[in-house]
Symmetry: C2
Subunit: 351 residues, 2 copies
């Protein structure tokens, strides 16, 4: 729906880009910035469309919009929500979102799954399952940009967070599917990481990538209702014991395990209270701000790494060389270190 609105306004009287008309373009950019800062959802949608665009001209405008939004961002709590398909993420986000909005917050919901547009997992594309949020003026929902690599999605999601915050959204949910590398990316852009699990402890972990459980600040056993209640209680104990065996977090926060039924709207207050407790706890020990600073630093260096990687691996000569020699390394016939050196020497000459 958000997408549709954008398309409408793109082809309507407020074009994002009007070629051969620099004055108009500048005017529009400023319009969008003004709109975002006033909390206008259409402008926010347009801004994010520019952030997501692959056109160079759009990206240049997007960068200016981001720069204009940066001083107004950062006033929020960013919550990563992950869990395998079937765990009830859409219902959870809908119910939790309603609670958050009723409590007076403005909510932004973003996703970070490269695969989300294609198929499995992300539920933001299917907003019919989010009746309340998709029609509420204090909620802004946006699925992952399509056709992007994880790095691309991560960058765009992070920048979309900035825009959402500048538009006054002070609670941000970032959704992932919990089965891939996306969790590391999400973990590097949220303050609080929430892992949703099903009541049948253990089994579903099959589908969750190693290390994801360790990232959680809160594990929530969802669907803790009806016949599932007994299983959910057992699962809660099992996860509690498991979390206890992990080393303490840098935040000094002890990860918790709670149960809820997103469908029956039970246990949600407790979850929100815990998120608020986390915020004041980490604000007090300064981890909250330290982590945000570190995250910005992380994305700077991660982005540099990605650029260098592209520079090197997309070089045609490097590609050819690698194609013919990598196999020898894998078969143990050549030293990986020596080949790396040779390739870097070549690369330096080619640059």
């Amino acid at each position: 729906m958000e997408e549709k609105e954008n398309h409408k306004s793109n082809s309507g009287q407020k074009p994002i880009i009007k070629r051969r008309n620099t004055v108009k373009k500048r005017y529009v950019k400023e319009e969008i910035i003004k709109g975002i800062l006033e909390g206008d959802r259409v402008s926010l949608g347009q801004g994010i469309t520019l952030v997501e665009s692959k056109k160079e001209a759009h990206q240049k405008i997007a960068e200016d919009i981001i720069d204009a939004c940066l001083p107004h961002a950062n006033q929020s709590i960013r919550i990563g929500i992950t869990g395998v398909p079937g765990v009830g993420k859409s219902t959870f986000i809908e119910s939790m979102g309603e609670l958050v909005i009723e409590a007076g917050f403005k909510l932004g919901v973003l996703a970070i799954d490269p695969s989300s547009q294609v198929s499995k997992g992300s539920i933001l594309g299917d907003k019919t399952r989010m009746q309340y949020l998709s029609t509420n003026k204090n909620a802004f929902i946006r699925p992952s940009p399509a056709g992007e690599s994880l790095g691309g999605v991560a960058r765009k999601t992070r920048e979309s967070i900035i825009l959402c915050e500048a538009a006054g959204h002070d609670v941000i949910f970032v959704e992932t599917v919990g089965v891939g590398q996306s969790e590391v990316a999400v973990h590097s852009m949220v303050d609080f990481f929430l892992l949703l699990l099903l009541p049948n402890a253990g089994d579903e972990l099959q589908g969750i990538k190693r290390g994801v459980v360790e990232m959680a600040d809160l594990v929530v056993v969802n669907k803790a209702d009806g016949d599932n209640l007994k299983d959910a209680r057992l699962a809660k104990v099992a996860y509690k014991n498991a979390l206890h065996l992990f080393p303490p977090k840098e935040s000094q926060w002890l990860p918790q395990v709670l149960m809820c039924s997103a469908l029956a709207k039970q246990g949600l207050d407790e979850i929100w209270q815990l998120v608020m407790d986390y915020k004041s706890f980490t604000k007090k020990n300064n981890f909250f701000n330290t982590k945000r600073n570190q995250q910005a630093q992380y994305w700077l260096h991660e982005s540099i790494r990605a650029h260098l990687h592209r520079l090197f691996y997309q070089h045609p000569t490097v590609k050819d060389f690698l194609k013919s020699k990598e196999k020898e390394v894998m078969e143990g016939k050549r030293s990986p270190f020596r080949l790396a050196e040779e390739m870097i020497e070549q690369f330096k000459k080619l640059m």
Copy 2:
């Protein structure tokens, strides 16, 4: 002691390098290669000294030695052994090593801790605690090279493994301290990862880096003797339950938990049997070879990454630029992505 032998031979009648005498140099290189392939421990020690040397001339010879050894390497089982200081690694390696040698294998023991020469942790420097191994002709022990970064140590350890294997050592122990990033490096060069823990479950995990437990193919509760026996049994159950909650490994191998007393030489047969079981299990499902191929590939790309990183970050202009701008990113005043782009553009012009 190994060190001493090397020094002796370096200054004696078999100089590794004789400047201004290319014929001699070539002769010596071939001598070392011949010696290694014949299983001569002095030659092996010399070869590793060349691998560890920072002199360019030495490194060139080392590369040729490695190339000559590569076809004769790869016939072994490589076992990573980790655990916090105080867990009894030296005694474990000594007792386990004795068992392995008595079983007819030739053992190589290497370390991968950048800090090991300095202080805490690695016990290979202190061979008085390894009576049996330090005097046995079928054992070769070598501490980490001093004054190296983790990347440097990792590379040198991996290359030393090649030399050890070419010299006929068919069981390789690689030791780490279990508190830092070294475990990831070790994990990327061994077939089997063994985590030593103390009987007081939970508490010591404080000292172990997050994620290390997940890497283990086998957790061994050491010091399971005397008064500790009850605690050790409880710890075993706790770790077993915790491991059960992790997702399955790519190897399809189910990580196990065993108890032993390295001091009393109890429970060691069971451990060795399990290592052998692992080897035949992963040989059968082809994970053993796949993993080794992937590891070689990993080191190729990891090495390229490290080179690119150095090229970029050690550039004086980049350094200056970063110094003045990084703070703005961390404080949320600039977009990390945009700064990264600007820096890469500058870098391309400078190259």
